[in-house]
């Protein structure tokens, strides 16, 4: 007799209101007390599936069983009531509340009008933390806490609700290797306590290390579930991508030219006034891709924003092609030959409500070609320009007059790359250029960056995707807490070395 799985999802279909088919009939089941990996590429439907399980989304079709009985979740509350809780990739914490209030929110006890019993909640939390063998400060607004701590608060939040099934969505994405190790310890403790954990990831090594079983999704479809002990990374990778991973891009050797970008002793502050970039110096040469790897949140964003004129420089110099550009505005920088593929496509790179054509001149709309008498815009030229970009970059769009939001994520990203390249820059600053982009577009964009390098452009690449940096860069730096732990050549380091560096440990060899 097979035991009844704690979670069983059958024939789950999810079609979003914009028509995107995220899940195409997925079956999924989890045994009680296991750590179950949910593996897949970006866009495979992992998160969607789990959001359905946690009541955030409603399935278009399909059934969910908990401990063998069918359930319908109208909201996360329903799922929580059944003991299912999810820690989202983007934390859902109320920034201005402290940890305690974040955790007790929604189950403060007593009536709605009575005073919150802070002491009792604290006691219960202390007990939880002791069991898990970690501590978080309970009375500091969470916006002032590091991400690793915020994640623990998220986990505590779920445990406080006595969940049996804990879903973690890409929990390691923002952690240093040491923090990852600590997280895994916590997960093991939880498992020993009898909790069931679903672990969403696309990182093979982590899945191999922590999970008991793995389910692989690809493009909204179930590929299969295997026992981890019987799997190899190669097998999982094949299941995930559907072919043997050949993502090596063609990169002919090239001798870099003159330095295009020079950064000298750069200091930049973060949003909360802390020093985010602490005295960086480096250069990027023509015909070179300089990659910056590292866990997100170590000052990469601030560095990029400083270089592209979006953030004030506290100290130091930025020199472009011999000219000091430290205090220049984005507009001046574009005119001087900087292009910027921003990390946040939706909130920065594009104006989704505006048409494709209007988006193709964002940041070069003042160029002579587009401006007629009386400061008017030559829409004819703009549309030609847009059509050319759409054609050259194989962007799938209903037309240049339709709004940018009607494009898929990958095509939106290609649109940004196309536009930035059309600025005919000397330096391309590409930040997370392939995040959340489908495989085909990713390949296209990566190859295009190589092409630009081959055309003697300087490319500064920042990516949280270590593979991407390793494959594309001619030289790479690992950033940790606002500084470079080291600048290395990708072919000369091992992944282990890089892993250590990302955790802030410089390899002594």
């Amino acid at each position: 007799m097979e035991e009844v799985p704690i979670i069983k999802m059958k024939g789950i279909v999810k079609i979003y209101s914009d028509g995107t088919k995220a899940l195409k009939g997925v079956d999924f089941s989890v045994k009680k007390g296991e750590i179950h990996g949910l593996l897949g590429e970006n866009g495979a439907g992992k998160t969607t599936l789990m959001k359905i399980l946690s009541g955030m989304l409603h399935p278009t079709e399909g059934k969910i069983y908990v401990n063998g009985s069918e359930v319908t979740f109208k909201s996360p509350a329903d799922a929580l009531a059944k003991g299912i809780g999810m820690v989202h990739q983007h934390f859902t914490l109320v920034d201005v509340f402290d940890a305690l209030h974040n955790i007790i929110l929604g189950m403060e006890g007593h009536g709605a009008f009575s005073k919150i019993d802070v002491e009792r909640a604290k006691e219960k939390l202390q007990k939880l933390m002791d069991e898990l063998n970690f501590q978080v400060p309970l009375e500091v607004p969470v916006e002032n806490l590091p991400v690793g701590v915020q994640q623990r608060i998220e986990i505590l939040k779920m445990l406080y609700r006595d969940v049996d099934v804990l879903i973690l969505d890409e929990p390691t994405a923002v952690l240093t290797p040491i923090e990852v190790k600590e997280l895994f310890d916590v997960l093991r403790t939880l498992k020993n306590q009898g909790k069931t954990i679903i672990f969403i990831s696309h990182k093979l090594r982590e899945v191999m290390e922590i999970t008991d079983r793995v389910t692989v999704l690809r493009k909204g479809e179930l590929i299969g579930t295997v026992n981890t002990s019987e799997a190899t990374p190669q097998l999982l990778a094949r299941m995930m991508v559907g072919r043997d991973v050949v993502l090596r891009v063609e990169k002919p050797p090239k001798v870099p030219g003159e330095p295009i970008l020079k950064v000298e002793d750069l200091w930049v502050k973060g949003d909360r006034g802390e020093d985010a970039v602490k005295g960086l110096s480096f250069e990027v040469r023509a015909g070179e891709i300089f990659g910056i790897a590292g866990v997100e949140g170590n000052g990469q964003t601030e560095l990029i924003e400083a270089i592209t004129g979006l953030r004030k420089v506290e100290k130091g110099k930025i020199i472009l092609n011999g000219k000091v550009i430290t205090t220049k505005s984005p507009k001046d920088l574009y005119n001087l030959g900087v292009a910027h593929i921003p990390e946040d496509r939706i909130n920065m790179g594009l104006i989704l409500e505006m048409s494709v054509a209007e988006n193709t001149i964002l940041g070069l709309h003042w160029r002579e070609k587009f401006v007629g008498p009386l400061n008017s815009i030559r829409w004819k030229n703009v549309k030609e320009h847009a059509k050319r970009l759409v054609e050259n970059f194989e962007i799938v769009a209903p037309g240049v007059d339709s709004p940018a939001k009607s494009l898929s994520g990958g095509n939106q990203q290609k649109l940004i790359v196309a536009r930035e390249v059309s600025k005919e820059p000397l330096l391309i600053v590409a930040s997370q250029p392939t995040r959340g982009v489908d495989v085909a577009s990713t390949e296209y964009i990566r190859n295009y960056l190589i092409k630009l390098r081959n055309e003697d452009k300087a490319v500064l690449l920042v990516s949280a995707d270590l593979d991407e940096v390793l494959q594309l860069s001619d030289r790479m730096a690992i950033m940790y807490e606002g500084q470079f732990v080291g600048i290395v050549k990708p072919e000369e380091v091992t992944e282990e070395q890089i892993g250590l560096m990302m955790g802030g440990i410089k390899d002594e060899n």
Partner: protein, 303 residues
């Protein structure tokens, strides 16, 4: 001129004038803490002043009138909440509509109800009588009630589960939602509460303070209450202080402009701008530190 007289007069005047401002501001604080912006308080004040008088006269009790005013505020709040919270509509436009509507409804309603156009005197039998009568004006029980409501609201907002939930809806509805807090429910409730308090403030205008209902009785107080809310940094107790200060300067400007000595030096028109200037200056000086709830005015939609 007697300095003591002036101080007492202005203090009492400030307490009296602050009631509709503070009630509305405190209501607006709650509403915005939950993430719903409403600029229709001007219209709510006016309509509640009107309906408050109607209810009071039908029932013969000023307190039922007050409740009636609050009830009309509540209905209008439900209208606003339904549009903004449930239908995810724009937060500004319905308020503008309600303001417009109120001007029409009240001007239309006064002659329809009382047979005299333009104004109506609320009979003293259905007016709230002051607890203490002084020669500088009465001290209304509503002043006390306003202070109590303010402190209660403050307490609920910052000390109770309900308040925690309301605030979480305005700061991060996603977080609230993921913990099973019905964002829509709390936002709606907060909006309705805000409008209800404004309704109470409106009924105070006609049933207590001024004892009359005219076509333009609210005279911009709904907007000033909004400014006061910003001034308060979305904090009920500070809204109480702000409302008091505005009332104080408003009174002071009239006192000052009535003074024969001042009249010779500054035209009254410039003295009359005083409360508004002071508001702008204070808001401009303070705003850097106050930050609105993160999701203020943004519709929240799961998916």
């Amino acid at each position: 001129m007697n300095a003591l007289d002036m101080i007492i007069f202005n203090l009492i005047g400030a307490f009296t004038a602050m009631v509709p401002l503070v009630l509305t501001s405190v209501g607006a604080v709650v509403s915005e803490r939950a993430g719903v912006v409403n600029i229709g308080y001007e219209g709510i004040l006016l309509m509640s002043a009107f309906f408050g008088a109607v209810f009071a006269e039908i029932s013969g009790s000023p307190w039922i009138g007050l409740l009636g005013g609050a009830f009309v505020g509540m209905l209008l709040g439900m209208l606003h909440g339904a549009i903004t919270v449930y239908l995810k509509g724009d937060h500004i436009i319905p308020g503008i509509g309600i303001n417009l509507l109120a001007l029409g409804v009240v001007a239309f309603g006064i002659p329809a109800v009382w047979g005299t156009a333009g104004q109506h005197q609320v009979p003293s039998t259905v007016r709230i009588s002051p607890i203490i009568n002084t020669s500088y004006g009465g001290i209304s029980p509503m002043i006390l009630i306003t202070i109590i409501i303010t402190f209660l609201t403050h307490w609920v907002l910052f000390r109770t589960p309900l308040g925690l939930r309301i605030r979480s809806c305005g700061e991060n509805p996603e977080a609230a939602d993921s913990l099973g807090i019905s964002v829509e429910k709390y936002r709606f409730l907060a909006t309705v509460y805000g409008a209800t308090l404004a309704g109470l403030g409106g009924a105070y205008l006609s049933l207590d303070w001024l004892g009359t209902i005219t076509k333009e009785l609210s005279s911009g107080r709904g907007f000033i209450a909004l400014a006061n809310m910003v001034f308060s940094g979305w904090n009920p107790i500070r809204a109480l202080i702000g409302g008091f200060l505005f009332g104080f300067f408003d009174n002071l400007s009239i006192w000052v402009s009535t003074n024969p000595g001042v009249q010779k030096i500054i035209p009254w028109q410039f003295v009359a701008t005083l409360p508004y200037l002071v508001t702008i200056i204070i808001v401009a000086g303070i705003i850097g530190r106050a930050r609105p709830p993160k999701w203020d005015g943004k519709p929240y939609k799961r998916e």
